[in-house]
Amino acid sequence: MVRFPRRRRDRSLEQTAADPLLSVDRLTVRFGGLVAVADLDLDVEQGAIASLIGPNGAGKTTAFNCISGINRPTRGTVRLDGRRVARPFTPVAFWGIVAIGLLTGLLVAAVAIDIDGVWLAVVKRPMAAGEPPRAATLGRRLRSYFRWELAVDRLGASWRVVTPDGREVVAIRRSREDASRLRDALQAAVTARRAGPGTVPEATDFGDAADAVHAVDGEVLDRLAAGKRAIRLRGWTALAAGWLVGAAGGYAVWRRGRRSPEVVAAAGIARTFQNIRLFEGMTALENVRVGLDWGHRGSRRIDDPEQVATEILAKVGLAGEAGRRAGELAYGDRRRLEIARALATRPRLLLLDEPTAGMNPAETAAVAELIRQIRDSGVTVLLIEHHMQTVMRVSDRVSVLDHGVKIAEGTPREIRRDERVIKAYLGEAEA
């Protein structure tokens, strides 16, 4: 017998043998008006084989889907080892969401402050003026943009005094010197406007550009003066709004993945599916490798994963099929491969959804034996099964579901005798 790769034994395993490994508390699932599962309480002891039975549509698979994170329950909790199975809101998640918000905010702000204009002011204008921007001058130019200081741009043969984003032309001059002089004078006028109405400089302060400054409409000067506040307001508002939207979006996405199957799998719960879901295009060995690679991510690295994967395949009796594509395997082999893949994740709890469905008696018996072996290797098993003989033979405890409600729970022997169970289920099943 190949030794099955066991997960590191942690303290909780030994000290809390009495506490249930899995405890489901008041689990309720509604689909629209239909109540699929109602107030289900379910405990599975460490090292046991528990079974969930019930007629078709009783809500067994829905309960499974909730435990394994595929469906979100309407209400109720699922605990593994007394801890809720959900991605904790770690500092990493927090800062990630903050960062996403910041990134979104920056993007929105880039649109709002007109990143194109910033580029013009910071990169292209100095380039055209023959002073290629350097890191040292970058900050200064940015500040000047946010102060909404006028600039001089060339277009065609003329020089223009423009807003820093180059979008509004205040004046046009034939030579660069003229334009620069006018810019300085206009800037002084604008700054004075900003300071308040009483501080308008004397016309003479503008020197020979005085006429030109006075030719500029007062309204225009006011608008230019207000530009500084406007651009800052726009920038900060956009940053804040973008941050809010981005962070909210990041949180929404994070929340949606909070109890996703991968989180559950990483916590140590593996499952199989009623309608087999293998990676059909990949070989049997690769199927198992995926489980080994990613399952239960807390554990140590495996030295020779290829070897371990082969051993797991051998354990379920698929040693000879390692190189075959999963889609080509015989039906029974496919079921067993799914179990092997689940086992490869080194789970603490294995959920098996009708593992013997469609099998002949010999195969069924072999699977029952396999389930016991799995239990013996230290993995707790929760089983959904229709084949009563198997259930009664392997289970330590059985819970019975009918119309989403748990109607009975106990040892196989107790269940066999339970009136309600017989009425609801066993009677017709064994008839």
Binding site: T61, N71, R167, E168, G249, A252, F273
Partner: protein, 315 residues
Amino acid sequence: MSLALPLAETVMSLEFIAQQVVIGLASGSLIALVALGYTMVYGVVGLVNFAHGDLFMLGGCLAVTLVEAAGPPQAGAPAAVGILLLVVLCGLFCGGLNLAVDRLVYRPLRESPKLAPLVSSIGVSFIFMNLGLFWIGPSDRSFPSLVPADNLLPFESLRFSSRDLLVVAVVVPLMAGLAVLVRSTRSGKAMRAVAQDPTAAALVGVNVEKVIGATFFLGGFLAGAASVVYAATITTIGFQMGFQTGLYAFTAAVLGGIGSIPGAVVGGLVIGLVRALGGACLGERWAGGIVFAVLIAVLVFRPEGLFGRRQREKV
């Protein structure tokens, strides 16, 4: 230069906003008409019919060909009759084409993975585009102005032209008719049943393939009708116009909740408004970008759309 400052003041004016709203609603209701085709087909077969926008384009091609064949338009009542006739003819043409494509291309793929028909529909879209290219040539074609662009309102700065009226006159009855059809008739009920659960519908005796065919036909008919209205109001047809219209319409359908008919209508109107107002505020060229920003935001916060149901995978 996205916005020279003198315009900033005009943007503020109420009339200007009202004008943009009128434009947005007019183009939005056209988008809604096309979006209905997406949403109905998606509701029934779960296919994002990529070729829908180009089907719309082919409708426009037929309209321009028919009008040119019919000769110069006359004013007044004959124009209205002509447009009605065009709506019906182009609708039938697009509906029939859509149905034929479904039978030829999508039907054999019903059992395939869901992306297979989607990829096929991209293929159909390209073939349609090529057809359009051969049909009307690579450059834009002018559609004779059947409806005058005169202002029906007594204002200077707020225009509601006969063309806008045409949009209302065609879109509203069509949508009302569709609503009645889906709510109250036998085939409408069958359609809704198939959208709910095709297997169950088949079990209770609904001819699923027939319903799917009818859906494709109806969706196509609406696209054809929309194309005539589009041609008469915008008066330009180009072989690449289907792509963008299709994208807007799809966005509208997703926004409203794909599969939901009222959703598509509301989505279309919202997209039209967002496009017009957003374009007016941030500059015409950003209008397309704004629409997709809306799409992403909807998908992040409410993937099922405004009116949609949450989709659940069967495990």
